[in-house]
Symmetry: C2
Subunit: 408 residues, 2 copies
């Protein structure tokens, strides 16, 4: 049997009939190169939002089962139209809903988890020379109810099908050319990255790069599915994400610089420094559904300490209220907050074998007279919280300092 | 178990969220009266047309399988929104696609025939006190592919579910108050008919009354499913259609007067009158997919005859071309046609036991100096083709002559 490629096209790639025809041509071109092609598509442009808007006119609290029944129609429209467009070009294609093709999920409607994905039916149709088109974002519970996979669900469908079809290449066709060393709107010299490891991609996406939702990358890493992020409007190669292979990263210290401006910093001041106090604070914040990101606690010599953390700006008011309750409960002094911060990070598997990466990063900051407010590190990333107004110039400086301005 | 009612709501009854909320209130009110309610809904307003328009932008000849995949989403949106609206009122409801509820069809995509409809799953949910909502117009082939039932498909779904649920009442909620003795726009004194037999309804719908597609009535007759045609915007009773019960029609000679203006008359003149010639003519017309309605052949004394028939005006050009080919083939003289005709009919099971109904009809025509061009009769109807410009006044006169102006 010929090699299989799974191609995923997002909402902007199938925004209207003209775009769908473009996708059809790309899919057929791939088949002509000698591949068996499986296509996963999202809903047309803003279809999902429009359906949710309809539901809102009826109720503010739709049942999640019925929500899934409703929004899953968006992808069903796309697969049918894409099949028609491929037929029009004279090629064989057949469309399926997630349910029809055996994508089985649990019953957590609107954010369902995959239980099993069966590649058998798809393989039967591929063997007949057909292009197989599968609705993204959706599956079926064991009880035959329609369930959707939540944000980034179509990417997850694509990766899961790649796995089910033997770990074949999973192309994520999107509206950007790949993953870049930095946001090109901030750093004009930003370069497209040719190869990234799963872990680097995970750090990049959780640190502010919007290209891929972490969920599909975690799944791809677990089952070693190679991902190719590329533009659906160009033939150029994009970014290939795969298992860390030492040789590929030899000499590359860091892969990219990311910037996150959507967080605010909060500090609970003069906290009694006794065992269990941090646990208490973050348990209360978690119970209030607040997504805490970085956490810093200074070492204390006085049995009192300050605890700082970052939260999404969108949750700032809720967080402040909760933090003030915490201050009373634990007998701390007060809460302060700062909205004008940004988190600048460098990511790269190379830093594991290159000592001095952190020092170099701090040096760049010092040269620009920047005060670092918080630092946090993982094995393959270093993040600094600094004043927001200086963040973009720091991103540029780091991009240059780590040699990313020139194509590797 | 409580009595079951199947309620069908058409596209105009669920045209927007406001309408859907109205339907939800009606459904809940029915349940409160002590019934188990199963609801069948069509797609919102012009959704189906919009989907077909999208497909047209891609291809003029969509595959029928993919067409069904596409348009079946319309009803799926409706069922989910209606379930949400019923939940909002505080009642339990659950929505299903045709496939999920076990409506099995053959593989004639876009005009599929029902093979089997299973009421088991619906009964399980009814037994839990839920309102069950089923997407109209669609089912699933044995191979789990989505197939739609063609024009009037939602009505057929409703009748088939009534049958599967033990022959319960099937309410067709629509934008008219019921079936009328004539078109109220033509005959202001037209009355809503309380009861009609299946055969009368069939004659009425095939003779130009737009209320119910014949297909669902034929199915209802076959399985003796009672139908109640009523307005979804009023509480008034509509028209109940059921098996002919002599007592109910005692004294009622005719039930309604209908008018059909969408046909044209064609005549093939001077046809050699020999065995098999009519078969030959109508075989050629059928092969050209032309829907012939009335057929009249005069008795011939000269071994030559004229054959007249009516065809839909929309197919006139195609019919003329075909008829001219026929003239050559069978060595007839020529083809003539007349677009300015109308077919006026009277319908009623009562005419079986009342001799002289036809004579009375012709008398009304004669009083108005109208030339009858064609006559055709069935056991319960008489149709006359006359000049179109006089048709509406004839309908009014017949309505009066047969005593329909006053409520029975």
């Amino acid at each position: 049997m010929k090699k299989i490629i799974v191609q995923k096209y997002g909402g902007t790639s199938v925004a209207n009939p003209q775009c769908i025809k473009n996708v059809a041509r790309r899919v057929v071109a791939t088949q002509k190169k000698g591949y068996n092609v499986v296509v996963v598509v999202s809903a047309l442009g803003d279809t999902t939002d429009k359906l949710i808007e309809l539901a809102k006119q009826i109720t503010d609290t739709p049942s999640e089962r019925e929500h899934d029944m409703l929004v899953s129609t968006g992808e069903q429209v796309s697969v049918a139209l894409l099949a028609m467009a491929i037929h029009k070009l004279g090629y064989e294609a057949i469309s399926f809903t997630g349910a029809q093709v055996g994508i089985i999920t649990d019953t957590s409607f609107s954010k369902a988890r995959l239980i099993n994905v069966d590649g058998k039916k798809i393989k039967q149709h591929l063997a007949k020379g057909r292009i197989v088109i599968v609705a993204g974002f959706q599956g079926m519970t064991k009880n035959q109810e329609i369930a959707t996979l939540g944000r980034g669900g179509s990417n997850l469908t694509a990766v899961a099908l790649s796995k089910a079809l033997g770990g074949c290449m999973c192309e994520m066709n999107t509206d950007v050319e790949g993953v870049f060393t930095a946001d090109p709107r901030i750093v004009p010299k930003a370069q497209k990255i040719d190869y990234l490891s799963y872990d680097e991609m995970l750090e990049m996406s959780s640190l502010g790069s919007q290209v891929l939702q972490p969920r599909s990358v975690i799944f791809a890493k677990k089952f070693n599915v190679p991902i190719h992020v590329r533009s659906s409007f160009s033939k150029a190669a994009g970014t290939i994400i795969l298992k860390e292979a030492k040789a590929m990263w030899e000499g590359v210290m860091i892969s990219g610089v990311t910037l996150e401006k959507k967080e605010a910093k909060m500090t609970i001041c003069d906290v009694p420094d006794k065992p269990g106090i941090a646990a208490k604070i973050f348990k209360i914040l978690a119970d209030a559904q607040i997504n805490v990101d970085m956490i810093i606690q200074n070492i204390s010599r006085t049995r009192r300490t300050d605890i700082s953390f970052t939260v999404p700006k969108a949750e700032l008011q809720k967080s402040l209220k909760t933090a003030r309750d915490i201050v009373k409960k634990i007998k701390a002094e007060q809460v302060t907050f700062d909205e004008n911060i940004a988190k600048v990070s460098i990511v790269g598997v190379g830093m594991k074998s290159h000592p001095g990466v952190a020092a170099k990063m701090f040096e760049v900051m010092a040269d620009k007279k920047i005060n670092i407010e918080m630092i946090s590190t993982s094995e393959i990333s270093i993040s600094c919280v600094i004043a927001k107004k200086k963040a973009e110039s720091v991103v540029k400086a780091l991009h240059t300092a780590f040699g990313l301005d020139k194509k590797k």
